[in-house]
Symmetry: C2
Subunit: 339 residues, 2 copies
């Protein structure tokens, strides 16, 4: 089975954005605020939004299941307040649930959390629990910077986040570390903010004892781990200079990378330096880069092609496409069996 | 000739830090502030600080000249005010000048700029001009985030920076984009902030027309270009989605990467994806990572070894070790000839 651990509902029906627009308008003028429950999308609209996009690409590329979450750039936790984020997250997660119910063979849900700047992360635990226990989701996306580019929350290794981690451990779900859009003009969202957040999170984990406190807590760092595999020697050397344990021992039982790297040399490097047990197949499809590479004639984000071009042993291939996902998302196997 | 484009004076005599400590103490208690002119370091102390470190490593590794600048993490533009930064930059640059005067065969100067949060970049132009015209320096380090991790200055492509770029062009000197220490607890300096800044700057350049306004302006993005070469497909694809010209046309006449990547697979990727005309040899020695890699028995930052392990054509090798440095630092050739 080929499991893509990183897909967002970037093609959701227009009604979702209309709901969000009303919600944002309602921040200034409460008369325009939509009812939290009101999101008028038909099953056919959902089918239509997926058939020509994610489902078509799954078929064309030969992948089976996508671990699917709301559009990351639209989470925008910096907009409004805690209530805004709670309603918006609920609407987005409910829509993912409908996708997974309509296409149980193709999608498994991961939720957006109702984070908000300055709000304790444990306030996200109720929505996480609802999504996992009631909707059958297998993980969450955790935004290390709910401010959208101002980075004024404590690092992910701070006790600030611990109550949420306790719930994640209890529910047996991992988090993908994933920022949203940037309102800091220095950071282009998909070209800088996303990649920087990945690199930042890894270095936070490297310098802390978080995984001594939470031995079973797991994170997926997307976009191929940001800059980390390219600078693997730097990170090994920094850990060594700081008298930290080797990376294998320090964090590779808890931290995993996806394969959202959009060219063959990058995927080759990732597989060369990062242990195969720590790599999960992912494509971010339909996501940050939507074009066709004129050099290859194929979509940049068709990451399966790059992997297929490398000669991986069957055992390694299986871990990357399937086995590691079952390890990192302990609820996934039962979820797929129940289809 | 082998030119290392990225070396900092991280081993400066203790008197330099003592001067800085007094300067910082003087911010609260002016009685403790040192005279701007007072930095009591002997030639022998300078020799001693280099003989066992940079000079020894140059000899051992077989490199000839290092383009040498003040310690980047100590620039700390966020401390104090414009005057603090002016005095501190002058002290650091004067010390680099003494190094270059004592060892004209081994070092060529690049200056720290007296940036300060909220202060117009053109206020750095006088120190740049002094360093270039009076001290024979060939470039500068430009900090895109003088706040030290809060990223509240305009992007490098904003007109905010143009007056400084005008002086750089007039003086024929490039800038290395280099942040300093981080006072944001999210960002480890050498493990996250440095690499993020590199990635961020590249994406700023990609989304702007800066080089239409300044066709001869040149930047070196250090640390192997941050995450950029690893995600080369992502950047090519993002440019394409945004209907920007191909990277070659858009910015590769103006933007260059060094080779500060501390393992062979990383260097191999860099040379595989980035045109050879855009890569300058660099090691950041003595810098961010000081240990010996137990897997190779050699220093992580001995980047020449990784390059030597690859089979580069002689023409390519020459560009990387020498030719590109002469192109990016137009004053370098005359400076070396004058020794």
């Amino acid at each position: 089975m080929i499991i893509d651990c990183h897909g967002h509902y970037t093609t959701a029906p227009k009604a979702l954005q209309a709901y969000r627009d009303s919600q944002i308008a309602g921040l200034k003028d409460p008369a325009q605020a939509p009812s939290p429950a009101k999101l008028d999308v038909s099953d056919d609209q959902i089918r239509e939004s997926l058939e020509g996009a994610q489902l078509k690409l799954q078929r064309e590329r030969g992948t089976d299941v996508t671990i699917f979450s709301p559009r990351a750039s639209a989470m925008a936790h910096h907009i409004g307040n805690e209530t805004t984020s709670r309603h918006w997250s609920r609407a987005c997660n409910d829509l993912i649930h409908r996708v997974c119910t309509l296409y149980p063979q193709n999608f498994v849900g991961v939720c957006q959390l109702p984070q908000s700047p300055g709000v304790p992360p444990e306030h996200s635990a109720a929505e996480l629990e609802r999504c996992v226990r009631e909707l059958g989701f297998v993980g969450c996306n955790l935004n290390p910077d709910p401010s959208g580019g101002w980075w004024n929350s404590p690092p992910l290794t701070d006790r600030h986040w611990y109550p949420l981690y306790e719930r994640m451990v209890e529910l047996e779900v991992p988090a993908m570390v994933h920022v949203s859009s940037s309102c800091n003009p220095n950071f282009h969202a998909t070209g800088a903010h996303y990649i920087n957040a990945d690199t930042t999170a890894f270095m936070q984990f490297l310098t802390s004892d978080l995984f001594k406190d939470f031995p079973t807590l797991k994170f997926v760092i997307p976009h191929g781990g940001g800059a980390v595999p390219y600078h693997w020697g730097r990170y090994r050397g920094l850990a060594q200079d700081m008298k930290r344990p080797p990376l294998e021992e320090l964090l590779l039982g808890n931290v995993f990378f996806d394969t959202c790297v959009y060219h063959l040399p990058g995927i080759k490097l990732l597989l060369d330096v990062v242990p195969i047990d720590n790599i999960l197949f992912g494509s971010e499809m339909v996501g940050a880069v939507r074009g066709i590479d004129p050099r290859t004639g194929h979509y940049y984000d068709d990451t399966k092609r790059y992997i297929d071009a490398l000669t991986l042993a069957e055992g390694a291939r299986r871990k990357l496409f399937e086995g590691n996902a079952f390890k990192v998302y302990p609820r996934l196997k039962a979820r797929l069996a129940a289809r």
